[in-house]
Symmetry: C2
DNA sequence: GATGCCACGGTCGAGGTTGTCCATTCGATC
DNA sequence: GATCGAATGGACAACCTCGACCGTGGCATC
């Protein structure tokens, strides 16, 4: 993981369909050297996958909320992970400092779908209550990884 | 935007480097028909770009926080966008319902870098104060788009 | 029903890209 | 300086891309 790798990753982040030759031209390697490095980065798990960014307003998943999760007693992160991984509307979540135990970013196709997903989070035995902030307008969505 | 387009998008989400021929084999089109549709989807802005998912622990950007933004008076979303787009550590942000004006998801290489980025958000003239929740452990990170 | 138009798909071929081979270079070690 | 390993660049066949061209079907107009 040297500067060449980082350069390749930066270029692939901008355009995952760039040819190895073009990438090599930018970082100063031949196409075959770039391919070897990319293959290694994928094998090592540094590059997790090649994907596309889709306009969220088009694919319909444009109803979002940030939800603070408050649990009863102490809940292990593993336990929270088990609860949340069963709800596909959860885009992003982490345990946090502060009064809430976790913050959960949810995305659904509609307010009812969001409400339904929220309900599935709330019925988990350890969840005491939640506090939601519905997203009114999306300002930034840097889709880094 | 029909079922063929949706199928192509799903396949590209899984592997943005799949060849047009392979995609066509899965959705039942020729390679050129797939290319035409992909080109159209890109031109129409449905597909915003081709990118890679990078292990966040490897690229070093693994210090995160959710920040509630409280503004003085009423602030237009455009104004917030202008403020936040100048801070690259802002991954995701939206105006929200509730007492805060916006929620901002930030990611940096270290706590000092996060603090610095937060400071750059706070010095904006309209920002009254912020309330941060530092992410302790990342639970979910579905990197859909 | 005939006509023109348009959107869409398939086929084809030139040119570019990928993936694999091998010789070479570079640096470290003995 | 000899040897080894890791990485590179170049060569080449197989594959893919991408534009040009043509055929088909839907649809409105005459």
């Amino acid at each position: 993981m040297d500067n060449l790798d980082r350069g390749i990753i930066d270029l692939l982040r901008q355009n995952a369909r760039a040819s190895y030759g073009d990438i090599g031209g930018s970082v100063g390697l031949s196409a075959s050297a770039v391919k070897r490095r990319v293959d290694r980065l994928v094998a090592d798990g540094v590059i997790r996958g090649f994907t596309i960014q889709v306009d969220p307003t088009v694919d319909g998943y444009n109803t979002e909320a940030y939800v603070e999760l408050f649990c009863r007693g102490t809940v292990a992160p593993d336990e929270l992970l088990r609860i949340l991984s069963g709800v596909p509307e959860v885009v992003d979540a982490g345990t946090v400092t502060g009064s809430a135990d976790a913050i959960v970013h949810m995305r659904a196709r509609s307010i009812p779908a969001l409400e339904d997903a929220l309900e599935r989070v709330r019925i988990a035995p350890n969840v005491d209550h939640t506090r939601s902030a519905i997203v009114l307008s999306r300002l930034i969505h840097r889709t880094h990884d």
